[in-house]
């Protein structure tokens, strides 16, 4: 497998992992909204909290993590150049 293919395989897997976490915070939690809301966090009902703040915060952290990890993958395969079109 060429370097290019290996890089793409890793990139693709990283994308799927990221989207799986995204799916959990955007869909799965709210599929069970009624039971999740029985729990509580900081005094807020849990599903309310996730919809108002929790999932939003999870997305912010997720995208930073995604970008950092993808940069590492790029560096490993020698694609980490900063500027490309001067």
């Amino acid at each position: 497998m060429s370097n290019k293919e290996a890089h793409w395989t890793k990139t693709r897997n990283h994308m799927w992992v990221t989207l799986a976490i995204w799916f959990f915070f955007s869909i799965v939690i709210f599929m069970f909204g009624e039971s999740v809301n029985q729990g509580s966090f900081l005094g807020y009902p849990l599903a309310y909290y996730m919809s108002a703040q929790g999932s939003l915060l999870a997305f912010v952290i997720l995208i930073f993590w995604f970008a950092n990890k993808q940069e590492k993958i790029d560096d490993e395969h020698g694609y980490g150049g900063e500027r490309e079109d001067d």
Binding site: S26, F59, V60, A67, Q70, D85
Partner: protein, 611 residues
């Protein structure tokens, strides 16, 4: 100052700007205590900030194509994040969202999840690849990846439809705010708003819009957060976002005490409630029972997420970063800056609801006598402009929860007044709302005119046009599109939010799968892309006409109403694209090689610097 070292000096420049803005707020507070009237303070707030944006727009003027279309591809990560956040957060986010949560409760908050979760799709599936491509506009990518004039033309069609639906709502919002703050008629306010928008974008295109959007973000976030923290502190919560758990539970208890009564349509009609006004009938934090409620929540969130990842005026912001790496990071910063406002909106809704409902607070009105409530100055002000209404359904002279009608926008615009904050805060909020609506309108008008001038005029009509001619066409189109938007807005056709959701649905119907599969599926070809774009757009639009309350108003299928028609459009688009692609020849070796190159984050962009 704007030569050479400008990019390096950005933190300093915007730091000074922020400091200057805070000094301006303090100055206004001093003027207020010296007896300057509330109306004059409002005028000064809006006029001063708009002048600053216009100045930035003038200083960023340019005669270069890549500065005009993609800000010279040198916008640093964090600043692009701020600009995207301003681009993204519209008048609807700023003015209407807290009001939506106020009336809709948990169900409405699907918008929050949708409008943030979409950025995960942007960063994983699209932004870095589109940046690597080096295109000027979104149809530029479609046109080059799939080849030929037809896909480019179809993509332009979707872009114009989605963005134009959105931009009239934004110009409408600038008009509303300008007319209220400057005390002029709405029809005139719309044109004042349009001129402010054009001042920011006409001379400098994307470069000017970028730097004004950063300035607008700073104003809007200050304007949104100050009232929340101020009100929170009045109730004894130093950091309201973490400390309103008790307040949310208190609201649930008050709802149980007062009862969430649904008024009949006949009652509302006979009482003469003005259009667009709502009353509280949904629980604030309780999750409604049943599978249909879950599906309604999820389907709305999905539409908003997928729509986010297809909206051209957002995607094009990531064309302005210096590299693929910074495009990716920039998505993260965008979401962070958006998050600051979005996680505050539910807190604002909670605080302002409590102010009105909790009998222990001096500001409460529910449960008081109607004569007394009608004597409160802010109630009188907002009643006079038909934004607030009281209907004594049971005739007992006491204000019940279901007898208090209010327009959603009032939650943001009137809360400082309701909570007894000084007027300077209301002026600040007006300036923030203006910044939010202007920045989005700017991005949208620019997206449409750039696309028409680059993809239609330069790529299809006159490929030999020189730089000067291209930029003149781009600017003329900018003015024409803006004027058209303002003209339609001045006719007041739709409410702010209905139209905003439609833009997402149009974009996801026609663009999401052609864009994503263009990067992730090598087998996707020209015929497939055309089928995907046109099939999705046609199916989505037909369904909208079928269920739209203003059109045929049929019963929605599986609860997919006019806010969610993108579900139909995007599904059809996916199926059409895959089936037609597989039925026709696979793309040429050159195209497949191009897709391989897009997937490599470093190296030259696919399209040249000047194309």
């Amino acid at each position: 100052m704007f030569k050479g070292g400008f990019i390096q000096n950005l933190p300093k420049i915007y730091g000074l700007y922020t400091g200057g803005f805070i000094v301006f707020i303090l100055l206004m507070a001093i003027l207020e205590s010296a007896g300057v009237s509330a109306a004059n303070i409002g005028i000064m707030f809006v006029a001063f900030t708009v002048c600053i944006y216009a100045l930035i727009g003038y200083l960023s003027r340019t005669i270069q194509v890549d500065a005009y279309y993609v800000a010279g591809r040198q916008v640093p990560t964090v600043f692009n994040g701020m600009a995207t956040a301003a681009d993204w957060m519209s008048g609807a986010s700023f003015v209407a969202m807290a009001g939506g949560i106020y009336f809709g409760g948990y169900t409405y908050m699907a918008f929050l999840v949708g409008w943030t979760g979409g950025y995960v799709l942007v960063s994983t599936l699209l932004a870095p690849y589109l940046r690597k491509f080096g295109c000027y506009t979104v149809p530029d990518f479609i046109g080059t990846r799939y080849g030929g004039t037809l896909p480019r033309f179809c993509a332009t069609l979707v872009l114009v439809l989605a963005s134009f639906t959105y931009v009239t709502a934004q110009i409408n919002a600038t008009g509303t705010i300008a007319s209220r703050a400057l005390q002029i008629p709405f029809e005139l306010g719309v044109w004042v708003g349009l001129i402010s928008i054009l001042l920011c974008s006409m001379l400098g295109g994307m470069r000017a819009v970028t730097w004004t959007q950063v300035a607008q973000y700073i104003v809007l976030i200050i304007a949104y957060l100050i009232p929340i923290f101020w009100m929170g502190n009045k109730l004894g919560n130093i950091f309201p976002h973490l400390m309103l758990g008790d307040e949310v539970q208190r609201l649930a208890a008050l709802e149980a005490e007062y009862g969430l009564i649904k008024n009949s349509a006949a009652d509302i009609k006979s009482a003469g409630v003005p259009g667009g006004l709502k009353y509280i009938s949904n629980p604030h934090s309780a999750v409604p029972a049943g599978g249909m409620a879950v599906w309604k929540y999820l389907s709305l969130a999905i539409c908003m997420m997928v729509g986010t990842a297809s909206l051209p005026h957002i995607l094009m912001r990531y064309f302005t970063t210096p590299s693929v790496k910074s495009a990716r990071k920039s998505v993260a910063w965008s979401l962070f800056f958006i998050f600051l406002l979005y996680f505050s909106a539910p807190m604002l809704a909670t605080l302002s609801k409590l102010q009105l409902m909790d009998p222990n607070l001096p500001t409460a009105i529910i449960g008081k006598s109607i004569a007394e409530v009608q004597g409160i100055p802010w109630v009188q002000n907002w009643m006079a402009v038909k934004q607030v209404f009281i209907a004594d359904f049971n005739g007992d002279g006491i204000l019940q929860l279901n007898e208090w009608f209010m327009r959603g926008d009032v939650v943001v615009l009137a809360t400082p007044e309701v909570a007894g904050l000084p007027y300077v805060i209301s002026g600040l909020v007006a300036a923030g709302g203006m910044a939010a609506a202007m920045s989005t309108a700017d991005g949208l008008v620019l997206a449409i005119s750039n696309c028409l001038s680059h993809d239609i005029y330069y790529k299809i009509i006159d490929p030999k046009a020189d730089v000067r001619k291209r930029l003149i066409v781009a600017r003329v189109l900018l003015v024409v599109i803006g004027a058209l938007g303002a003209y339609i807005a001045s006719m007041r056709l739709t409410g702010i939010l209905g139209a905003v959701a439609w833009a997402f649905d149009f974009a996801m119907s026609g663009l999401f799968f052609p864009l994503v599969l263009g990067v992730w599926w090598k087998r996707a070809n020209t015929a497939g892309a055309v089928a995907g774009i046109l099939g999705g757009l046609t199916a989505g639009t037909a369904y909208l006409i079928y269920v739209g309350p203003k059109f045929m108003a049929n019963t929605p299928w599986l609860g997919i109403d006019h806010l969610r028609f993108g579900i139909i459009g995007a599904s059809v688009s996916l199926v059409a694209m895959v089936v037609v692609s597989l039925m026709t020849k696979e793309p040429s070796a050159a195209t497949q090689k191009m897709v391989d190159d897009v997937r490599v984050p470093s190296g030259r962009a696919i399209l040249g610097k000047q194309h």
